[in-house]
Assembly symmetry: C2
């Protein structure tokens, strides 16, 4: 482990001078002071990506929802709870060359947040929870006046993974989508490995099942190649 740390420390820094923003973890959307709508993201992959980019020399700003994970070292970290807070933090971190939207943001939030805890009424009906759409961080940043040169989104899908992710790529206007299958029988949420399909304008690459740390390093390496090709062309 010490040798690995030394290799990283003295290793090549092909992303030196590049600024990267990484989002990770879930968002929590409050229903009332006690309850919220959340999702099963552990935050492990976002942290792994932030670490891998920093290891290659990028200046990394991680914007993360509530997770159990320790903050990665060598990375600036902003903690947020809601999707709206995450968007504001990402915009506040601009300009950047690279944006990786890995967080599992909530598409919807409760339309109103109750100031007091909602009470069960004897014999009363349960409340129906009206939802409203959250801002779309990936689409917003893909069309932003200060759009980063490389915008990467994630798609957590439970069916038709490649088809849904390819459609997401063009709909959002981002450059790459990393798609993974999170159907319950795969057990990816909270797990340590994941199977990624990288969708670009040119098609898709199927990566083998990898530990999340390796996914972070493979993505960072792919990003290095991308910028190397751009500077040659």
């Amino acid at each position: 482990e010490i040798i690995a740390a030394l290799e990283t420390f003295f290793g090549p820094k092909p992303l030196a001078g590049k600024r990267a923003i990484v989002t990770g973890g879930p968002t929590h959307e409050p229903i009332d002071p006690v309850r919220y709508i959340g999702n099963r993201s552990s935050g492990k992959l976002g942290n792994a990506i932030a670490t891998a980019l920093a290891d290659l020399g990028a200046e990394v700003h991680l914007v993360t929802g509530p997770t159990n994970q320790p903050d990665p070292v060598g990375v600036r970290v902003t903690h947020i709870e809601t999707t709206r807070e995450m968007l504001a933090a990402v915009e506040g971190a601009l300009p950047a060359d690279i944006l990786i939207c890995n967080a599992a943001v909530a598409d919807w939030r409760p339309a109103t947040e109750a100031g007091q805890k909602l009470k069960k009424q004897a014999g009363g009906m349960p409340p129906a929870l009206a939802l409203q759409e959250n801002p779309d961080i990936l689409a917003t940043l893909s069309r932003h006046a200060q759009r980063p040169a490389l915008v990467v989104g994630f798609a957590a899908e439970t069916e038709n993974v490649i088809e849904h992710a390819t459609s997401k790529l063009s709909r959002k206007g981002c450059d790459w989508i990393l798609a993974n299958d999170v159907s319950p029988e795969r057990g990816v949420f909270g797990g340590d490995s994941t199977t990624i399909h990288l969708i670009t304008q040119d098609g898709h690459e199927d990566w083998p099942t990898l530990p999340k740390g390796d996914v972070g390093r493979r993505l960072a390496s792919r990003i290095t190649d991308h910028f190397a090709q751009r500077s040659q062309s």
Copy 2:
């Protein structure tokens, strides 16, 4: 710390021979394979209560929702996610002399759980989330054929704490309610201290603000006194 452990180990065991069930943590109610409704319980207080009862010699079975806390030692632990799973686990742990319902269970769950991840539709309205009432673990066990001799509930309130908790005591049919004020400005959820009001048939006691470990020990000590008085009368 070693001396404290030895004192506990060689200390008096006034609850020896008593069986206790403790519920702790939040419950998660799935909306779809990815999303859920949760609440802000950290699980710290449930673990502290389970540990304190075990330290006084009780045979403790902790039924807990998803938390970041390590399982307490010397205690049997069952992990569950939903309120219905928690009720089944508590009933499966009967008979018991003591039941402490500390978990922050969800009053409601989504009326239907989607088998696939709900998708945002372009231009479509967000879904309205229909809710249905969950089983009431505290009320169910307070009227159970195998009702434990001492049933203790918790009330997390954001306003009119004593009044709401006293009403809850008679409505649920339990013996004691431990009420605490969780209004956002108090910051109890996830924090290490809490201010408890113990509501009994005879009125209420206001405890000072205490670390959660001390709340567990004070409750265990109060339970010891309760059983000592019963055996004398």
